[in-house]
């Protein structure tokens, strides 16, 4: 028997495993993730089809099938949301909203113990409402919040840690590009996922704030509260930060109220921020820069989406996801235990991989397994393992996984947010930032545990919208 015949006689699950193994090798040697996935997917299709209909026809069918995917997968209406969210993020810097927000937060909550830390967390959470990117949020707040904290006598490690951790809030609070990508891959409603991120994002911010207040209460020389603002000064600080509330309002009204699509909400938000940026003095050169950056990031995200979907198309033929699901559900332990192991695996993987790449590569196999763990595709809340319906489970798992991926942005060895803060503030070494961010690991672990134990935090808003 020749090698070719042997390859042709392999069952589809073995083919799936070999091709997936090949893809992982490609990813590890540094082939761009989108192309590693596309290549594996194409080779898998060739393998499956030539086993069925001979090599020559098999290759042609595989080429034709692969050739339809980039265009057809990219021209999906719900994906049009992504560039609008990215554009909002790049324009937000020009609109000068960050300083206004920080000033307002300082005047409103600065009197609390550890008040500047709390103000940083809350203003970063507010800024997250116009920015979908953690790293960018950390960079901006490192510039404006750290100097003020140092002036007041806060520990530089703590100040750096607060900023690095606060940046992670951006990925849950809408608009979040990563939640849109999750929704596309698992074929769930984009609006429901965006809304679902709202409460967990706010919850994370409150846990951070609580942690800071506790630290300020228990440690000596922590840093003084900022007092002395009267109510008139507090209200004066609001108008400059108003556009943020406006954009949040638009997104909530559009999606929650069902009066517009998420893309329309994103576009309206981008339009408003653009007007403010123009008023603040942005001109063609800056706009051109923002458009180039937006286009580049958009291409990056779309390329990895179609690349991975080419691999997913092959997976569908190879039955690998269902085989993995069968194996996961047959494990001799409670479904919750299995879920915890899956999340821990993400925590480890996230230390070495970019969040978007990690989620896109793993979800096609892991997501069906999690749904199967819960009891399958059409399970009701009463019959399920986690006490939530299958739609609820997909939203809930999405939020937890994204929170997990963000958690990895502040963990060594390559917690990008920490490197960014250290890059912006020469007086803080990377070690300082990692040390300072440590308490927030605990806060995040508590948040993740709470989200896992109480799916209601995630599902309350989408359920109010009648979406799950």
């Amino acid at each position: 028997m020749s090698l070719f015949e042997a390859l042709g006689q392999m069952d589809s699950i073995s083919i799936g495993l070999w091709v997936t193994g090949l893809m992982l090798v490609l990813v590890v040697i540094g082939v761009r993730v989108a192309f590693a996935a596309a290549m594996a997917g194409f080779m898998g299709l060739v393998w499956i089809f030539s086993a069925k209909m001979g090599f020559d026809r098999g290759v042609l069918v595989a080429i034709k099938m692969a050739g339809t995917i980039p265009h057809s997968k990219v021209s999906t209406l719900s994906l049009s949301l992504i560039p609008t969210f990215i554009l909002i993020g790049f324009l937000a810097y020009h609109a000068g909203l960050t300083r206004a927000l920080f000033e307002a937060a300082k005047r409103w909550v600065g009197w609390l113990p550890g008040g500047m830390g709390v103000a940083t967390v809350l203003s970063a959470a507010g800024f997250a409402a116009v920015s979908g990117a953690s790293v960018a949020t950390s960079a901006v707040f490192a510039r404006i919040a750290i100097p003020e904290m140092l002036k007041l006598g806060y520990d530089k490690r703590f100040a750096a840690g607060v900023v690095a951790a606060s940046g992670t809030l951006a990925s849950l609070i809408p608009p979040s590009a990563i939640l849109v990508i999750y929704a596309i891959i698992v074929e769930q409603d984009v609006g429901a996922l965006l809304m679902a991120g709202f409460l967990p994002g706010a919850f994370s911010a409150l846990v951070y704030a609580g942690m800071i207040i506790l630290m300020a209460k228990t440690r000596k020389d922590f840093g003084p509260p900022v007092t002395g603002y009267n109510w008139a000064q507090r209200f004066e600080s609001l108008p400059a930060a108003f556009p943020i509330f406006f954009v949040v309002g638009i997104i909530v009204v559009c999606i929650y109220g069902g009066v517009g699509t998420p893309t329309e909400a994103g576009s309206l938000g981008a339009f408003v921020i653009l007007c403010i940026a123009l008023k603040k003095g942005m001109r063609w050169n800056e706009l051109k820069g923002a458009l180039m950056e937006t286009a580049k990031l958009t291409v990056m995200i779309f390329t990895i989406i179609w690349g991975v979907l080419l691999y997913v198309r092959f997976l569908g033929f190879a039955d690998l996801p269902s085989a993995f699901s069968d194996w996961i559900t047959s494990l001799d332990q409670s479904p919750m235990m299995t879920l915890v192991f899956i999340l821990l695996a993400y925590a480890v993987l996230g230390m070495f991989m970019d969040a978007i790449g990690m989620l896109l590569l793993t979800l096609p196999v892991v997501y069906p397994a999690v749904i199967a763990l819960n009891g399958g595709d059409a399970v009701t809340a009463a019959d399920s393992a986690f006490g939530i319906s299958s739609v609820g489970c997909s939203i809930w798992f999405g939020i937890i996984v994204v929170k997990m991926a963000e958690f990895c942005l502040i963990t060594p060895p390559i917690g990008l947010n920490c490197f960014v803060v250290a890059g912006v503030r020469p007086e803080c070494s990377v070690q300082d930032v990692f040390r300072g961010v440590m308490p927030f690991f605990i806060a995040d672990a508590l948040t993740i545990a709470a989200l896992v134990a109480m799916p209601g935090i995630v599902l309350w808003l989408p359920e109010l919208m009648g979406l799950s």
Binding site: F35, A38, G67, G96, A277, G289, K296, M353, D354, F419
Partner: protein
């Protein structure tokens, strides 16, 4: 984990072609950005028109779906040139010199091979739509232009990959740490610092200082 990497240049042919080609890629990427900009206006006009005058734009969905291929593909070669497609640099970040350039060369050759396959496949996809005169659901826009964008953009990517094969081959022969016309690998700290710097430049302008 890569966003934007440094690309070195000198006065060799390779570097000249690289920079000339970059101009084309920049124009295409900016065109993609402008399509995004127009999308924002279109969607805003659509939602406002519907709210205020109960008059949505006819064929809005068709226009958006046709526009998407443009911003999703036009910048694909530029993103490759700038090292903007994400990858895992755990291994390649550890090695240096010739072994690194050999790995990069292999990786780019593999990318080129899958790109060539997709150029052919997506061209067939375009050809079918063109020959049967396929059009969109609502207002019958022809679909072929959006489908043609894919093989065209991928062909430009293929040319960029061939340039990179040339550049990495040169680096394999010459050795050393600073090859031209390819994105250099930087550690997380350098990437973060560069990114922060570009953002802060913008932020400062935004604050009007």
């Amino acid at each position: 984990m890569s966003s934007s990497s440094r690309v070195l240049g000198d006065d060799s042919y390779l570097s000249k072609i690289d920079r000339l080609f970059l101009r084309l890629e920049t124009v295409l990427t900016l065109a993609g950005g402008i399509v995004i900009f127009l999308l924002v206006f279109l969607a805003t006009a659509n939602v406002l028109g519907r709210w205020i005058f109960s008059l949505p734009i006819s064929g809005y969905i068709d226009w958006v779906e046709q526009a998407m291929a443009f911003f999703a593909f036009l910048g694909i070669a530029y993103t490759q040139r700038e090292g903007g497609h994400i990858r895992m640099d755990m291994l390649v970040g550890k090695i240096q010199g010739r072994p690194l350039w050999v790995t990069e060369l292999v990786s780019v050759i593999l990318m080129l091979s899958v790109t060539l396959v997709l150029i052919y496949g997506s061209f067939l996809h375009f050809l079918r739509a063109y020959q049967i005169g396929d059009s969109s659901m609502d207002i019958n826009l022809p679909i072929w232009p959006a489908k043609l964008v894919v093989p065209v953009a991928l062909s430009i990517l293929a040319l960029r990959l061939i340039l990179q094969i040339w550049a990495y081959s040169r680096a394999v022969i010459a050795g050393g740490d600073n090859p031209i016309a390819v994105p250099l690998i930087e550690d997380a700290a350098a990437v973060a610092a560069a990114e922060a710097k570009s953002l802060l430049g913008q932020d400062e302008m935004g604050e009007g200082k």
